[in-house]
Amino acid sequence: MNTELEELYQSVILDHSRRPRNKGEITDGAVHVHGDNPSCGDEIHLHVKFGADGGVEDVKFTGQGCAISQASASLMTMKVKGRSRQEAETMIRAFHDLVTIEVTDPPKLLGDLRLLQGVKKFPQRVKCAMLAWRALEQAIEAGDKESSVSTEGDVND
């Protein structure tokens, strides 16, 4: 068996892609961000409910796409739920570093998300792993009820 593939598609990742956690919508006062990778067709709808203090009270997603994009979204929702705004922002940066640069000791804060480190060896798949995170970043920044984000630069239409 090919080791790079095994690192990329670890059993936990495949499990999350087959049975994503926190799949669904939050209709009650949540921020909704639509994120997509137009060139791949990966797509997610992220629903984030922020508490009065700005923390991530609840988070769910729907969407479709490759195993990496869906597993990353599923694992992310598990890890950011209940975090403060600052912690969530730290996680976004830490996860981006994890899949793009050499990180010898990834922060414990990321938990099982550290299993996605294998993506680094597949530069074309980084945007798949980052999709849910860009949506989360957008949700925190915009704070509006509806917005959209793409990992492939600004849409010029």
């Binding site: 593939l5 495949l14 490759c66």
Partner: protein, 422 residues
């Protein structure tokens, strides 16, 4: 006469089909003989870009080492050689397509630029608000987006011939769609995602019958089957060099002389002018009118070498070889659990499929780790994929340097992938 000529070409090459030594031909392609991730490369992505034979690589090298200079103006020997090489390539392409004259061949950067040229010159001059451009639902973005942009500027309306479930066009709908308001009917010869071979001769005739101009997107066919523009009866035909063993950055537009003469230039600059004054200029006739600036001389000559190379093998033989591989691959793929092959049974040399267990991008990443180059995604067919309810497909596309053994190896890899992702 043109029709009998195409049959004659076919007959000649059919006789030689059995004599082609495909294994020896593989040796003409240096790039194929390498390992990727520790296993021999299997290149099944020729529909995206074909590999180049030694003859083309050597031609480019020879040009830059011996003949390089600007064309049409220099009064020295290198310029003469460059000009002769460039114009000889045009003549080769004209013969290759059976154009009535080499003046009907315009060098462009490829299919996309060829179609944009028609949209921005013929389209801008002759289309009015309310006129209809008829396309099909299986067009590559290159034969859709330029027309959308033109429609936005001119108020022209786009109409589409539907693609049916089986991957063929709804030809029954043609009567109601191809009305007198249609001024242009533009369609692909071979679908790059489904492998459908469209009845282009009939489509061109149908366009002519209502007085519409026809444009054939030959990106997937020009290097894969015999094409005779006069027998087809098309007004325009666009092709890309890099998909037919030629260099990247070069392609061509065939246009019927009468149409080219009536079209205004597109880009302005040197090369395309007769006489320039401060206030206004006069322009050359086609093809010069459409080739402003220093052209892509080396790659045009390289494309000429590719044409020679393909003619040496014979396009009918190539077509037979590629379609046999695709038919074999389709049969084998349908044996795999959870795999569905898209497109009609009678297909060109490519197979698009979906695997229940794996998204196309996961599957192509997996295959790549075993040296197998497939294409995963929407193949520049986003509206078609959306219509079919698919996030994308995985595509294996074949050329004459591919073998049945490579397909067998692909099936082992895909069989393992089913288990890996299930």
């Amino acid at each position: 006469m043109a029709g009998s000529k195409v049959r004659a070409i076919l007959a000649i090459h059919m006789q030689t089909t059995t004599e082609v030594n495909w294994q020896a031909i593989r040796k003409d392609f240096p790039i194929l003989h390498q390992e990727v991730h520790g296993t021999p490369l299997i290149y099944f992505d020729s529909a995206a870009s074909s590999q180049k034979p030694r003859a083309v690589i050597d031609t480019l090298r020879h040009y830059y080492e011996h003949d390089n200079a600007n064309v049409h103006r220099g009064l020295h020997v290198l310029s003469t050689r460059a000009t002769e090489g460039y114009e000889a390539a045009r003549a080769k392409l004209a013969t290759y397509l059976n154009a009535a004259s080499a003046d009907e061949i315009i060098f462009t950067r490829g299919t996309t630029e060829s179609i944009n040229l028609v949209a921005n010159t013929w389209g801008a001059k002759f289309l009015r608000a309310g006129d209809v451009i008829l396309l099909t639902e299986m067009e590559h973005h290159s034969n859709l987006v330029p027309w959308q942009m033109l429609a936005e500027r001119t108020g022209t309306v786009l109409r589409f011939v539907p693609a049916l479930e089986d991957g063929t066009l709804a030809l029954g709908a043609l009567d109601s769609l191809l009305t007198r308001e249609v001024k242009l009917f533009a369609f692909t010869h071979i679908s790059n995602s489904l492998g459908t071979i469209n009845p282009v001769t009939d489509l061109c005739a149908a366009a002519r019958a209502v007085g519409a101009v026809s444009l054939v997107d030959a990106a997937q066919s020009a290097g894969h089957c015999p094409i005779d523009v006069q027998a087809l009866g098309c007004d325009f035909l666009a092709l890309s060099g890099h998909k037919m063993c030629g260099p990247t950055g070069i392609g061509a537009l065939y246009g019927r002389a009468e149409l080219l003469d009536a079209m205004p230039p597109w880009h302005g600059g040197g090369e395309m002018i007769l006489s320039v004054n401060y206030e206004r200029s006069t322009f050359k006739k086609a093809p010069g009118k459409f080739e402003a600036g220093t052209p892509n001389i080396a790659d045009a000559i390289g494309l000429g070498a590719a044409v020679d190379y393909l003619e040496g093998i014979g396009r009918a033989a190539i077509f037979e070889h590629d379609t046999q591989l695709a038919a074999y691959a389709q049969g084998r793929l349908e044996e795999l659990p959870g795999v569905r092959v898209l497109g009609p049974r009678e297909r060109a040399g490519l197979v698009g499929f979906v695997m229940e267990a794996a998204h196309p991008h996961d599957l192509t990443t997996y295959a790549d780790q075993y040296g197998l180059a497939l294409r995963g995604g929407h193949h520049c067919n986003q509206p078609l994929m959306r219509k079919m309810g698919l996030p994308g497909t995985t595509r294996a596309s074949f050329y004459f340097y591919n073998t049945k053994e490579e397909i067998d190896r692909m099936m082992e890899i895909l069989d393992n992938a089913v288990r890996f992702f299930a």
